[in-house]
Symmetry: C2
Subunit: 241 residues, 2 copies
DNA sequence: TCTCAGGTACTGGTCTTACCACTTGACCAC
DNA sequence: GTGGTCAAGTGGTAAGACCAGTACCTGAGA
């Protein structure tokens, strides 16, 4: 019996999602003016504070520009939004955007080896222990989804070992985008998380402080999935703009 | 007579900043409970909606956990916050945190070459033109600060050429952290933005589609500043934890 | 006819108050 | 122990009012 928590839609959250959708889908183009708070509240059938909360959140995400006394306008999210917008771009209306997914895997392929190399430089005994523990977790995971979660835990340990606040926050942002998509990504990532030798090699290199080896191990570990999704995308969108 | 615009503190913004400071400075540890909204409003002398807006923004930044009916608790921002928090961490109380700054330059050193390489792969004629225009801007900038802004414009063009939504949002996040610190970073970055040959070499490599050369050019361009700040930090904090 | 000061209508910013919905914990009956 | 009930406290939402800043139009003066 698989029960799941009931989804409770909060009003400002709903308003936020609706406006966000309009902005990222282009229904509201950059430079457009939004209706006034009172008008929005009336149209949506909610109170003004609810609209206000949603607008403030959009403003914090750099998606709109609110000016006291003037009208609030839509910004170009591609040039202003930060990485925290990524989860909202990857899964839209419950569906994965394959172009965003490919971009994530490409970025991962570029960045993860660098993180691994830095982890090898700064890792102490405690970090090495944590890394080995993560490998054990990975070995004990039974199904593919559990292994994907364990793999996230492994990379979490690598990022910890790297001891970099930027890499840490960057990892958090990417994980936030990745986690909701784990089930959908199972087929693509299955081979990668089954490659236990790859994880062991990476963990050993980091623990031994061998930056070059760690870099290479991470690159090898991730490359198959990156290339698999890359060629898959090339098939799906032959005439990419 | 040098007048400057009066700082218009908006109430929710002020509340947000105060609570944010408590969270990142450890005055409120992870797991701690915040006072109720009514209590906070009373203590701070503002209305509840104002407090609410601030709390919602903290919640969106993944810094607190708000539960209907229960108390709102502080989360561990190191494991939950996204990269959009970076600007707030880099400059705190008007001062730069050198450890965060060093982390940013290290991450830049790791990531930028990868972006340059991908730009070389995907750049079309338009992107190459934009890149050359950015170099021209850089050549025409007179003082150091203008050159730093022009350098940002150059990297903006590189990121555009890479045609990756993740790299684009990542760049936006880093730029948002970097821009307020430009004046303070002048001494460290001066030599880098004076290295016009380095930018030209990188632009040429990207325009020519030579990924390996672009990677190397970007690495060379950024390395001096990275190492300069790295050794500076090593001096400042000999017993880094 | 042009220019610009002033008014006016509309926008976001803030507060107050009230009520609803949910969680918690204590108490009580079974 | 188990489950039900209730009260108190919390966040969620709404309505209305007023303050503060902006955009625009209007009319007097040049």
């Amino acid at each position: 019996m698989a029960l799941k928590p009931v989804a409770r839609r909060l009003v400002p959250e709903d308003v936020f999602d609706q406006l966000l959708g309009e902005v990222v889908d282009g229904g509201l183009a950059a430079g457009d003016s939004l209706p006034s708070e009172r008008r929005l509240a009336e149209v949506l059938g909610v109170s003004r504070p609810a609209v206000r909360e949603a607008l403030q959140r959009l403003s914090q995400a750099k998606l709109i520009d609110v000016r006291h006394g003037g009208s609030t306008t839509v910004r170009d999210f591609r040039t202003s939004a930060g990485l925290d917008l990524l989860p909202r771009l990857l899964v839209r209306d419950g569906e994965l955007d394959p172009r965003v997914g490919r971009s994530i895997l490409q970025a991962r392929q570029s960045i993860a080896p660098a993180v691994a190399a830095q982890a090898a430089v700064s890792a102490g005994p405690a970090a090495a222990r944590a890394l080995r523990g993560a490998v054990t977790q990975l070995e004990q995971a039974t199904d593919s989804e559990a292994r994907q979660h364990a793999a996230l835990g492994f990379w979490d340990a690598v990022v910890d070992a790297a001891d970099s606040i930027v890499f840490r926050l960057l990892f958090n942002s990417l994980r936030l985008a990745y986690e909701p998509a784990i089930a959908a990504l199972g087929p693509v990532m299955g081979a990668e998380v089954d490659n236990l030798d790859g994880y062991r090699a990476l963990a050993d290199a980091v623990a031994a402080g061998e930056a070059t080896a760690a870099h290479a191990a991470a690159d090898e570990l991730l490359r198959p999935a990156t290339e698999a999704l890359g060629s898959l995308m090339a098939l799906l969108e032959p005439g990419k703009p």
